[in-house]
C-alpha cells in the first residue's frame, strides 16, 4: 500500500527526517511512535506532500508520489487528518463533511453523509452548527468522518488522542480498529500516546530525532522494557 524509502526532510539546516523507511499495508494499523520532535508529524506531512523531501521516495500502490501535488493525493486514495484536527471552524459540521467527498464529484452526497452520521450520531445532531462549537471528541469524529467520505485506502492520522479524555481516546482508537478490520483500510497512526496506540496497532515504528530506531510487531514493542523506557515514556 504505502512504501516510504530513505526519506530525508529538512527545515533549513535542521534535518527533521534523516533516512526514514517504513511501510503500511491494507487491513493493518501501523503506529509511528516517539517523543516530541522525533519527526512524526513531519513524516506524515512529507508523505502527503505538504512538505517536500530532500531525498527518498514515497510509493503509493506502486506509484511514485514523492513529487505529487497535495491536492491530487486524495484522488490516489490517501487521506491525511492533520495534527490539531484540521477542521474548518468557520464552516458548519455538515459543510466540513461535504468537503470530504466533494472531489469525487459523485451524486451520492446525501447517502454518504447518512453513512457517516450513522457512524458518529453526535455529528448528526450538530449538523447545522458551526464546527467550532464541537467538543474535542466530536471534532475528532468530524475529521475522521470527513476523511472517510473520501473513500481512502490509506488513512494518515496525526495525534488523534491530543487533548482528549482517556475514555474518548479509547473510543476513537477502537473505532479506527473496527474500520480497519471491516474495510481493509490501511492506517498510519502517529502518536505520542504510545501505550494506547500500541494496543490497537499491528506494527509499531519508533522514531527518534528523525531516525527509525525500531520496527516490530506492536506486541513485541510493548513488551520491550528498555525501548519503552528510552523512547516511549511508559
Amino acid at each position: 500500500m504505502l512504501e516510504v524509502k530513505d526519506l530525508v526532510t529538512a527545515y533549513g539546516p535542521v534535518l527533521a527526517l534523516d533516512g526514514v523507511s517504513l511501510s503500511a499495508t491494507a487491513g493493518r494499523v501501523t503506529a509511528v511512535l516517539g517523543a516530541n520532535g522525533a519527526g512524526k508529524t513531519t513524516l506524515l506531512r512529507t508523505i502527503s506532500g505538504l512538505v517536500r523531501p530532500k531525498a527518498g521516495t514515497v510509493m503509493l500502490n506502486g506509484e511514485d508520489v514523492t513529487r505529487s501535488q497535495v491536492e491530487t493525493m486524495v484522488h490516489k486514495g490517501m487521506a491525511h487528518v492533520p495534527e490539531g484536527r484540521g477542521l474548518i471552524a468557520e464552516l458548519t459540521v455538515e459543510e466540513n463533511l461535504r468537503l470530504g467527498g466533494l472531489f469525487r464529484r459523485a451524486k451520492d452526497g446525501d447517502s454518504e453523509l447518512a453513512r457517516i452520521y450513522d457512524l458518529f450520531p453526535p455529528l448528526k445532531e450538530r449538523a447545522t452548527r458551526s464546527a467550532h462549537t464541537l467538543s474535542g471528541g466530536e471534532r475528532q469524529m468530524l475529521v475522521v468522518g470527513r476523511a472517510l467520505l473520501a473513500h481512502p485506502k490509506l488513512l494518515l492520522l496525526d495525534e488523534p488522542s491530543l487533548g482528549l479524555a482517556p475514555r474518548v481516546v479509547s473510543q476513537i482508537f477502537s473505532l479506527v480498529r473496527d474500520l480497519v478490520d471491516s474495510t481493509g483500510l490501511a492506517v498510519l497512526l502517529v502518536e505520542q500516546n504510545a501505550k494506547s496506540a500500541l494496543s490497537i496497532a499491528d506494527t509499531g515504528v519508533v522514531l527518534n530525532l528523525g531516525r527509525v530506531v525500531a520496527t516490530d510487531d506492536a506486541a513485541t514493542l510493548a513488551a520491550d522494557e528498555g525501548l519503552r523506557h528510552a523512547y516511549l515514556g511508559f
Binding site: S48, L50, V70, E71, T72, M73, V74, H75, A79, H80, P82, G86, L87, I88, A89, E90, L91, E95, R98, L99, G100, L102, F103, S130, H132, R146, A150
Partner: protein, 292 residues
Amino acid sequence: MQQFFDATLSGITNGVVFAAFALCLVLIFRATRIINFGQGAQAMVTTYLALKLIQNDVPYALAFVAALAAGFLLGAFVERVIVRPVETGPEINAVIVTLGIFIALVALAAIIFGNDLAAFPAAFSLAGLEVGGSTIALRPNDLFTIGAVLVAMAVLLGLFRFTSLGLRMRASAFNQEVAKLLGVKVGQMLTLGWALAGLFGSLAGLLIAAGTPIFPSYMDAVVIFAFVAAVLGGLDSFLGAVVGGLVLGLTSAYVSSYVGSELVTLAALAILMVVLLLKPGGLFSSSVARRV
C-alpha cells in the same frame, strides 16, 4: 424633512456602491489576508474601456457587460501573474505590489486616455422621480444602481452558500492547507476569488461613474470610503461590508447635506477612528471564533 429625505435617498445610492466595492476588498482579504489597493485602479481601467466602447457606438448594455468581463479577467490576471509570485513571502510584499498596480494603472490610464475629464453616460434618466407632485432625490438611474448591486450580492451569496464551488472557495479562504488535503485546487479558487472581486469592483466603478465625469483617479475617493466600510465591518464579513457601506453612504450624505461637503472625508475617517477605538476588530469580525 425634505432635506433629510433627499439626503437619505442619495446616501443609500452611494452606500450600495461603497458596499459593493467593500465586498470586493473583503473577498480578497478573506482569502489572502491582504488589501488589494489596486482594486480601484482596476475598476477605473474597465470603466474607461466601457466609455471607449460607448463612444464607438457599442450599445450601453453590451459595453457594460464587456467592462464587467474585463474586470473579471483583469482580477484573475493580477492574482495569477502579479500577486501569486510574491505570496509566499511576508504579506507586506503583496500589499506593496498591489500599491504598485494602483500607481502603474493610474499612470498608464493617464497616458492612454489622458488626464482630462471625460463624461461617462448614465444607463437611465438622471431626472429626479416625481412623487406626489414634488421631485425627490431618487432618479431612475439610482434605482438601476441599487438593483444591480442587490442582484450581484444575491448571486454572490447564492454562490457561496449553496454551491459546491462556493464551499470550496470558502474552505480555501479559511484554511488553505486543509482544503488542499481534501483535494480542493486552492490556487484556482484564489484566482477565481480575485476575478470575482475584479468583477464586483468594475460594477461599482461603472455605477459610480454614471452621469459624472471620469478621470484616471476618479475611483480614489470611492476606495477610501469602501476601505473604511470594509474595516468597519471587520474586513472578513460580507454582511459587515454591506452594513459598513450603507453607514458610510448615509453619513457622507448627511454630513454633506447639513454640514458641508468638504467635511465628508473627515467624517468617514472620524467614524473609522471611533469604531477602531471601541471595537478594534470591526463590527462584524469573526476573528474571535477564528482563534478557537
